[in-house]
């Protein structure tokens, strides 16, 4: 990205630590640069942020609203809190709702042990889900020659949608419906294998945080994902400019 001649620097505090930020830096980027952990799910470095999962909510002095760190830019004099009882409660609730909305049966999932949702639940100390499960009847689309989409594990983070649109340029995926009826779809809500726009590049599979998208032939716990391509592609693109 080309920066203006002089980037104005903002000074603020995160969890009491004084930090300097560029004005185009989000609180999430700033926190990560300073070694402060903020949980995220929909955020994916290299594509646009959409603030969908609400896991990265932080407190900012002077407002009672919680703001998503991935969508909030650093401002002069801000006092950001990334870790508190209140935040932990909300973050756990977000995860609770994600688990209850689909069928996340980790024990039989291809991503068991390599799943971001599972990892976060452990990290935030979730031992049981506090809301009733919905147990929806959901399909598994195995029509693609290389990959599988299992709606039971999808958390609608839209990483697949954004990477396929912004990086691959195919825009095979989108989301249909609204509310609890939302589903990730390929082309005209047709079997993935019949979607002409798909180039079979596999980017969506690699960035999916859960076992919703995986390579064919993977058994329980076998699906690990490779993400290095994204920062690499980004660097190559910047170099070309």
């Amino acid at each position: 990205m080309k920066r203006p001649f002089k980037t104005r620097v903002k000074t603020l505090t995160i969890d009491g630590m004084a930090v300097g930020a560029r004005e185009d830096e989000t609180i999430l980027e700033l926190a990560q640069a300073n070694g402060i952990f903020i949980p995220t799910l929909c955020h994916l470095e290299g594509v646009h942020d959409i603030g969908a999962c609400r896991l990265c909510l932080v407190e900012i002095k002077g407002t009672s609203k919680l703001l998503p760190a991935c969508m909030t830019y650093a401002e002069e004099g801000m006092e950001v809190i990334t870790d508190s009882e209140r935040l932990l409660t909300y973050r756990r609730q977000v995860l609770d709702l994600l688990f209850s909305e689909r069928n996340h049966v980790c024990a039989v999932c291809v991503s068991n042990g390599h799943c971001e949702l599972q990892w976060l639940a452990e990290k935030l100390g979730i031992s049981h889900v506090g809301v009733p499960y919905l147990y929806p009847q959901l399909a598994v689309d195995a029509s693609h020659s290389f990959y599988v989409l299992d709606h039971n594990r999808c958390i609608l983070c839209t990483r697949c949608v954004r990477v396929c649109d912004e990086i691959e340029g195919a825009h095979t995926w989108d989301v249909m419906g609204r509310g609890v009826e939302c589903r990730v779809i390929s082309d005209l809500n047709q079997p993935w294998g019949t979607a002409d726009s798909c180039t079979r590049c596999g980017k969506c599979v690699q960035v999916c945080p859960t076992g919703a998208l995986f390579s064919k032939g993977k058994a329980v716990a076998e699906m690990t994902k490779k993400r290095e391509f994204l920062p690499y592609l980004q660097l190559m693109r910047e170099g070309r400019k």
Partner: protein, 176 residues
Amino acid sequence: MPLRNEKVEPPSDDKRWRIVQATMQRNGFERDGLIETLHTVQESFGYLDDDSLRYVAASLNAPLSQVYGVSTFYHLFSLKPAGRHACVVCLGTACYIKGMPALLKEIEKRYGIKAGETTADGHLSLLTARCLGACGLAPVAVFDGNIAGKLDMAEALNRLQEMTTVATEVESVREA
């Protein structure tokens, strides 16, 4: 690939496609005109089928999945032809509290369809709305454009019976 797909052929030589084309033209065949174009298709044909979605997508250079996503996000668009008669039941807060869920369930059972569906004979489409702005009359439903308030089971089934019988009569006249 051409940049502006003004020359994409409509799915059929139906004259109504000209109206759709005019809408797209007005928006310079830009993707921004997607919702307006879908409105025009919906108004002209009564629903959006796969052919029309493909046509609109190709004309506006919009991804198929995005066009499908938009079509299923707004309640105003429907992907299936509507029945000859429509019953819209309100599931807004007031109507919900005044017992509409039970009424709806009964109607669904009687006609063998779920909300959002049309009977196999194409006579009746059952739709739901979120508050029709007549909460004082809750529970409220609209039968072919006629609003009915303080609805009870007997009245609702009566109205539906009337609508569908008229349909059958029209049918038999047509067949005769």
